[in-house]
Subunit: 208 residues, 4 copies
């Protein structure tokens, strides 16, 4: 049976199936045949739209990154927001992307291996945006950071992993970011600095 669709939507379908399977099984464990069967289309059609498996991977990642970039740009470019406000929103955005893809990509089971590659891409995409905000904050004395770029790398990657680890509470993230960036307690919406150590009392599972 032959179902004909316009190129754009077919491409998107294939991309969606690929993203879903990558998220579930990892890139290496997902075959092009599986992707085709998931759409479903003939294997050859996948190669009609994408030159190679690698190109599919890249396209999936690009789609993610593009969405994040758009969202970040909308926040960063607003003049009516204070730096802490921007940071707070960026934080939210960042996790919303992760979250949405956790939903979209059905990430709940295995940890998506694609995330490693995506992270690099998202980082490269988001870095400059966040950086400009950090710079502004640093200039106004709001933020005290040594090696802001390095610290940003640690933050982005560390927080992403923490989130995937199951820690979804934005208030917690806010506190952590405040501390890492040397912001005043509560400026991002986290609870005040006092009594911090009491916030986490129970033993948590270290990683996953």
């Amino acid at each position: 049976m032959r179902t004909i669709k316009d190129a754009k939507s077919r491409r998107r379908e294939i991309l969606a199936s690929a993203a879903h399977l990558f998220a579930h099984q990892g890139v290496a464990r997902t075959t092009v045949s599986e992707i085709a069967a998931d759409v479903p289309v003939a294997k050859g059609l996948v190669y009609y739209y994408f030159a190679s498996k690698d190109e599919i991977v890249s396209a999936v990642i690009d789609a993610l990154a593009a969405r994040l970039e758009q969202a970040l740009l909308r926040v960063v470019s607003r003049d009516d927001l204070s730096v802490p406000d921007k940071l707070r929103r960026i934080l939210k955005l960042f996790f919303r992307v992760i979250e949405r893809h956790a939903a979209l990509l059905d990430m709940e089971k295995d940890r998506p291996d694609m995330f490693a590659r995506v992270r690099d891409r998202l980082c490269a995409t988001a870095f400059d945006q966040v950086r400009s905000v950090l710079k502004a904050a640093s200039d106004r004395g709001l933020v005290q950071v040594a090696y802001p770029d390095y610290m940003l790398t640690i933050l982005i990657r560390g927080l992403a992993d923490l989130y995937l680890t199951g820690v979804h509470d934005l208030a917690v993230h806010a506190v952590l970011v405040e501390q890492v960036l040397g912001l005043d307690g509560g400026s991002l919406g986290g609870a005040s600095r006092l009594g911090r150590s009491r916030k986490q009392t129970g033993r948590i599972e270290p990683c996953s």
Copy 2:
């Protein structure tokens, strides 16, 4: 030619070759044939000692974790070291492991399940050790951390990624850790807090 050795040392030889190749090329890119050729033994003999490639991977990870644990224990249990000294040494140890096994940690891309095993294993091994040190530091007021376990996760993952990104300078790491943990400037060997912002002036490539 046929060389006969006792089981223990043969197993160790195979494990050593596997670890070496995994670390340099990654797990997915290392074939059982390569491992056998590297020892060198016949491919069949590898399967005499290990039921499958996965079992080799597990064994390599176990050995790695065991070594890390031993090393950490040796540091943590020393009474003659101050907390900052311990942290500094732990930091060194941590990076040494990462450095030697970068490709193994990079497995994430191809084998999410395998990577989860490495991460969980190393994390479970290291977390408690480091945690006890942090706890002690926190009790003495040396360290000011909210959610120390979360922060530790961020630090471990974030620093590991930063390191893999090409930032190898221990002094830089020290400063970053000091700040994240709220230690006094320089207590880990990083330069004092003053003038921090001047430490990183040139534009650095964000991630990779």
Copy 3:
């Protein structure tokens, strides 16, 4: 965009693109998609005009043979030319065809059946023409050949290969033909027989 043309010229366009690509890349390495893209028309249209790729190949060969035949006929039927003149012109024609369709003739490697078709077709086309000239020359005592048909086969194939080998100098070919056919030295435009051995002094690469 949709351009409508009459059947004849469309067919010719497709054939032209096919011939060009076949000649440059060989038949096996040229895909139907490439041909369509070169015209340019949609792939489907190619199959509207030709039942299969093989049929395209046949059509290309036919066109080639037809052109060669026309050209040879034009030479052979001229009464104002001497036999050596005719031979000289036939030689030129022959190499012009080879030159323009080198890759097509190289098809031999991948498609023996197809190559046989080209060879047979060109041979059947050219043989009789050349033969009649040779016969006339033989009758007049100009040419001294045993087994003229066999010798012709050797000459055609041998010269073709020599040409494909990179020896393009018509004067050299002339001398070789003179000698093979027992013509008087220089009658085809080659240098006189004397001093022959000095003509080729440098070591040449034997084949390719």
Copy 4:
């Protein structure tokens, strides 16, 4: 079922099957699967012995060329033979190789496409041997050839094709060679020059 043989003979088996199939169907039309099935062994074993299909092709050709070279060397290096004798034997050898492979490779049906590649190889292999003989003959005035290397190329390739065309009579070949090389009539065993033109009277099919 698993039949184990020593590497050498297995390699030879695979090569034999490959040569046979190549000769029958042409290289491109022969799949590695077919070769494996013909031996018969598992497809993977073929790749155990040969890195790629191309390597199989090369190996088949090399085997042919090696056999020819050996044989030629044995003739050329003999001091007790006159130049015409050597040439006569070389001629025989040359056709014997073709003949033997026509038998070995079961070439009767389709023309072997492999022969194109083989021809280049055989030419490169045989060229120097034959060349030295030709040189000696030329020095003694036995042979009158312009561009001996070119003429040799024409001869080798032309004769091979003539042979494949179905002309197997060595006496005919001898006459043709005598004429091409300007040898005295009959010196190679062909009939005398006189009456040459009567030798071939009937119309022959031009090519195949």
